[in-house]
Symmetry: C2
């Protein structure tokens, strides 16, 4: 092949490449498949707490949907998960005024005695504030963390606020508290309580933990502003008896040239029991399947393989991700890049990465193809999302498509996470971005793995 011929071929190839991207983008921007999938999962399956029949039904649903779009290799990886179940929750202020609060157990919370716990409430503005408390002030009381989530696009305040939910029961227990309540971690002011998992340590007494609605937190705050010390009767009934079988669902499209090199696309099928998991994470699941469909329908070549994993147990301990890593330890280095869609239906507005500095130009090139969709180029120190975060210690390179969080935290982990909250235009943009990203990485030779100079 003469040099001239090669150049012509290369330009022709480049032209096709750009045309393919444009074709995929335009098609994805009018895609309704993802939206229909979200509708289908939330309508036909609904709430799907990990390990339950509904959760297994969701896994079957996804397998069927993947086969329907033409994916031929779909497998399951068995994962043991908790069978924690929410039964009921009641919280009543008994003094100085009587009020019933809207409350829900944090996910995984131990129950109270059947008659409930009645104790004075002690208020802390944040987990940091709680950490400065004296045992003598806290012992025997119900700790209340009043931290309010601030609304913004980045969702950065969530990282700060969620510490109260994650660590609160441990810190409160160490100070001798009988129970923990937190202001629901949400930017909404509905009379709806938002769950989310609570963490315990093996060597610290587990105390019951619950979230109250924002409007009820306001009420408590008004009682405290009167210098009154409200008493609360808290009754949480939850059960947990055994380990259940659940599954990671894995779908593969084999690459034509380097099948062993894999682009990992993640989302999760399990949801909290309160809503129908529309934003968390039917949307991610719908977007990932629809992006695959875009690539299959476009009949474009994919030199590297694409692997979709819908990790189970995303909401408790990410046993799905952990078991996946354990089972695939020897091949994790074949994941050329990983990304996760698990942030509701906000527009993607930034690309963060954690990749080799030698590959940043390639990420910029991907970004260039989607910048007209409102995506900015962010930093190279991404911690990714819930499941893919567990891959980072194994040096799996990460692309993180940061979504607008403005609406997400209104509904997250609550009964209000339902299909009507899903924004079609954002879903379509998400599909476009994910399709183009997958297409470009799958057809490149670029290695993103952090090299020794990156790690200094």
């Amino acid at each position: 092949m003469s040099f001239t011929l090669f150049l012509v071929f290369s330009i022709a190839h480049a032209n096709n490449f750009e045309q393919d991207i444009e074709k995929i983008k335009q098609s994805a921007l009018t895609d309704e498949h993802a939206y229909h999938l979200i509708e289908s999962l939330t309508t036909e399956v609904g709430a799907r707490l990990v390990g339950t029949d509904r959760s297994n039904k969701a896994i079957d649903w996804a397998e069927k949907k993947l086969l329907e779009i033409g994916v031929t290799q779909v497998t399951k990886q068995a994962v043991k998960v908790r069978d924690w179940q929410r039964v009921s929750a009641e919280a009543t202020v008994t003094s100085p005024y009587s009020h019933k609060l809207v409350v829900t157990s944090l996910g995984g919370s131990v129950p109270t005695p059947e008659t409930g716990i009645e104790a004075e409430i002690i208020r802390f503005s944040s987990i940091e504030h709680l950490k400065t408390a004296e045992k003598s002030d806290v012992a025997g009381k119900i700790v209340y963390i009043a931290k309010k989530l601030i609304q913004d696009k980045t969702g950065d305040d969530y990282i700060k606020t969620v510490q109260g939910r994650l660590e609160g029961a441990i810190v409160a227990s160490q100070l001798g508290a009988k129970a923990l309540i937190i202001r629901s971690i949400t930017t909404d002011n509905s009379r709806i309580a938002h769950t989310g998992s609570v963490q315990y340590l093996a060597d610290v007494d587990k105390i019951p933990a619950a979230a109250i609605s924002p409007a009820d937190a306001d009420l408590l705050d008004r009682l405290f502003s009167r210098n009154l010390t409200p008493k609360l009767n808290l009754k949480l009934i939850n059960t947990e008896t055994k380990w259940l079988d659940s599954y990671n669902l894995i779908a593969d499209i084999t690459g034509s040239e380097k099948p062993e090199e894999t682009v990992l696309l993640a989302a999760h099928l399990d949801s909290w029991d309160l809503g129908t998991g529309a934003l968390d994470d039917a949307t991610g699941v719908g977007v990932v399947i629809a992006a695959l469909k875009q690539l299959l329908d476009a009949e474009v070549e994919l030199k590297r393989s694409l692997r979709v994993v819908f990790f189970t147990d995303s909401l408790f301990k990410q046993n799905g991700a952990l078991e996946y890593i354990k089972a695939h330890k020897d091949s994790l280095n074949q994941i050329v890049a990983a990304t996760e869609m698990d942030f509701g239906s906000g527009l993607i507005w930034r690309l963060d990465t954690k990749i080799a500095s030698s590959s940043l130009k390639f990420a910029d090139a991907v970004h260039t193809r989607v910048s007209d969709l409102g995506v900015e180029r962010g930093h190279n120190n991404s911690t990714s999302s819930t499941n893919v975060a567990h891959f980072i210690p194994y040096e799996v390179p990460v692309f993180h498509w940061v979504q607008d969080a403005s609406n997400y935290f209104k509904y997250l982990h609550s009964a209000n996470d339902t299909f009507d909250k899903v924004q079609l235009n954002a879903v379509q943009q998400n599909v476009a971005v994910l399709s183009i990203f997958s297409f470009m990485v799958a057809n490149s030779d670029m290695q993103f793995k952090l090299n020794s100079s990156d790690k200094q």
Copy 2:
């Protein structure tokens, strides 16, 4: 007194009058008393279903607050009210997919059997649609009225939509239905169910009636759009055993010249049990008390009397208003004008009236004094609000200060009717309008009673 002297006196009087109005307006527009009263009632009393201890506590609270601002004549009128109590509500779609719906009994609903009612759902787009149905299609089923409330400033669609709640159980029962569910009458899309009273007829079987959340109504609609016929298990536990004692609370400020002529200012203290009745109607109560306080603090003369009535049982049958009318039948013609504040904390944007055409100029003059607050002049065919509406057949002249309904119907009759939804600036505007209205009517000679020519 010479003519000149009279003119000077009259102008001086007119100047004082306008100065008083301006003083009251400016003071009211920075009034925080109403807002603090709303905060106090919702924090220290909270939910106050008519006839309950909480409701009686609210009446005591209001008496105290009236005495505190310097009202000296506060009396109670005993009224018998229902002791209907909500215990629990569950609604589960059992086929073709399993879903738990967010549901609440309509106020006054009879209970289901303890095991619930399980039946096919039959969907109607509206009460009008239901009225065209055949008995053979409806018998044995659970009727579902899917009408969605349209959001607008006027709230006019509420009048249409609420018919489904008021008449639905009667019409459905006549068609042989086992129960009624309606889409919650709200412009919100929260996973919260909105109650409101249901009506029955003595000679029609009473069937259980409930409202489901808007997001759950969407879910049902999606099932129906698949041409599936969902089954529902509906379990409503409510109790009602006896009549309870409640009270209208009546506060009087005696007029200096024509004490027998009275301006009636109405609101209500009872609330639904789900929220804390902040918009319905702590706001009305707060605004009325604060308007009185404005007039008392300004030390202005009031030639006619002002009478505040906080009617009890506003939310079921308005027994408070009906008993008031019965007890005061002979003096109703001394009410020169009546108005009611019972529409949440939206800005007043229009003045409607139902008064003699010979007095319209005076209403226009009142309107002129508040038009800078964003108030338009409306029509003269007002039906007023819940309680004062009962006075219209007795030819009591009505001023109706129409409030912006945009937010009101998001929260009305739901757990979400809490203090955080109250808008301070609107409350202040409401106080300004009500103070000026009361001041002007109390100091005028104008008779508003519809005369024979008006009634043609």
